[in-house]
Symmetry: C2
Subunit: 340 residues, 2 copies
């Protein structure tokens, strides 16, 4: 008996079903942690349009640049993770030098005296950053951050730091890279701090991390050249500092940019991207998910206002994201590494 | 009659000859403008060793970073080409505002009064850079440099600027990239000036150009965000500033670095590279070819002294380079573009 599949009529049908199945198998959903909705559809449509050589909106690979804020855009900021690092460094410093326990602003930090810190303001924060981020070589500082990254646990969420990246954004980064985009971080955190996390969590190499820069000095010690970290900030990569950092580091405007609602810190970056030549896409994350993450807004509502005026896509975590964190997280899950 | 090549004894011989020919055809000399000698052999040996997975000196692709000075290392510096740009800008400014012709230091520049400029020193040079490099947007400045790049001719050599790159170094950049190295410029020239030339002459994208940075400010004009260039230097990328720039921009030490003898400007960069982990290679160009280029040294001999002490390879242009410039030069000759 002849097998059914080789019947002259059935064969083409089976073949075409097979082809459809194959096509589906070859193109799985690149953003499985995103719910269907205008944000996800907008991303997919923009990326397809800018990378399809037959499309009117096609963008050559040299100009496919995507920039991401970090705190509140790729991982949580309640509290800011670099703040946890500062706390852990001050605890370690106070172990060695107990007199710090009686000295402000260290005393306030060690006692969790947020009222004092709010009152003391930027000057106190600046002193804390300077004391915890300088007086050592670049390599020694990186070793401190690596040690912190292995033992710290994110408060309230109870997650180790290798599990705090937002899974939908990790998928977005990998999707963009798979389409020839170069993905950059552009955040207010200090550069060497973020570099420790950028590779394992996001698949972003050190050279594509733009952050706040501390002063550095090349010194010769025992006939060896050492890069020493000095107190003081060389470039603050926040607000209007972000377009400056992007121009210095990349030399081209990002055509895709992502930030979040909280302080207005990303308005300048998103505006700068919005005005790049050709098609552009801006994404603004709104933290409205008190159950799975945190719910908070912005005092003056400036970020959402700018989004309305300039047509940026607002991502509401509660409805746009199927999951926020990936429980089985780890470096191996970061897809589409940058080619070099 | 049986053809000779299919004879059971002859066939393997023919085959192996064919394979040898094929291997040769597949591996042409990557550095045809270099004469055989210790410099060329040292480069080939180092690159093969660090990129052969079976070698003890193998370096993973993430760490294959090469940094190149520009003036005197990739193109001539007698005179410095950015100096020609400053002169052309001042001439244009004096056309619009003739009062500049009577004002120092502009008057000295316009009259070729080098004695005055030497006397006036760094302050005068700083003023000239500030006046010609600021007061406009990044885009407007780039347009000025592009216009200059098309009409300028290099004095004494009589070459258009698209023909002034040293051909042996262009080959070296392309060879390194073909072996998975990322190639960076790290030079004292200003960043946006060099970016105009880095792609067409060297195949280096804007994001891999590290130079002296002017102050920038993001301003909103007519509801549009503009990056304005301000007078004043944010980071001077020379001498001890070079390791600082490399660390900020790359986050890893270059394992391959090239500079030249003149002012000691590359000693810190080459030392910083020399002390990277694992195998490293440093190259120092000595301008001893008054016939094909220029012959000049260094007052205190510090660069050659450091080369002897640290084991850097000295390249003598006269004997190590078969040709200095490529007459049939143009953008199309730049090989092995960076993958993204």
């Amino acid at each position: 008996m002849r097998p059914a599949a080789s019947h002259p009529v059935i064969r083409p049908i089976v073949l075409s079903l097979f082809c459809i199945a194959l096509a589906r198998a070859e193109a799985p959903d690149p953003l499985p942690s995103w719910n269907d909705g205008p944000a996800k559809r907008g991303i997919l449509e923009f990326v397809e349009r800018t990378t399809d050589a037959a499309s009117r909106g096609f963008v050559p690979v040299e100009a496919r640049i995507a920039a991401f804020d970090n705190d509140g855009t790729l991982w949580p900021e309640k509290p800011v993770i670099e703040g946890l690092f500062i706390l852990s460094r001050i605890k370690a410093m106070a172990e060695k030098d107990p007199s710090l326990k009686e000295k402000e602003p260290f005393k306030a930090v060690l006692n969790g005296d947020t009222a004092y810190l709010k009152e003391a303001g930027e000057e106190a924060i600046g002193k804390l950053v300077a004391e915890t981020h300088s007086g050592m070589s670049q390599e020694a500082f990186t070793a401190e951050v690596v040690a912190f990254s292995k033992q710290a646990v994110y408060p309230k969420l109870g997650l180790p730091l290798n599990a705090v990246a937002y899974q939908p954004m990790v998928e977005l980064l990998a999707y963009l890279r798979s389409k020839g985009y170069r993905t950059w971080l552009c955040s207010g955190g200090t550069q060497e701090f973020m570099r420790v996390f950028a590779g394992p969590l996001y698949g972003v190499p050190p050279e594509r991390v733009i952050g706040t820069e501390v002063n550095l000095r090349f010194e010769t010690r025992d006939r060896k050249g050492v890069l020493m970290r000095l107190p003081g900030v060389a470039a603050l990569n926040d607000k209007e500092g972000k377009p400056v950092g992007l121009s210095r580091r990349i030399g081209l405007r990002p055509i895709f940019a992502a930030g979040n609602v909280r302080s207005g810190g990303d308005i300048a970056m998103l505006t700068y991207s919005h005005e790049a030549m050709g098609p552009t896409f801006q994404l603004l994350i709104n933290h409205d998910d008190g159950k799975r993450e945190f719910a908070y807004g912005e005092n003056d509502g400036a970020s959402l206002k700018a989004a309305r005026e300039q047509g940026w896509r607002v991502v509401n975590m509660k409805t746009d994201w199927r999951q926020v964190f990936n429980a089985t997280t780890g470096p191996e899950r970061v897809g589409a590494k940058e080619p070099e």
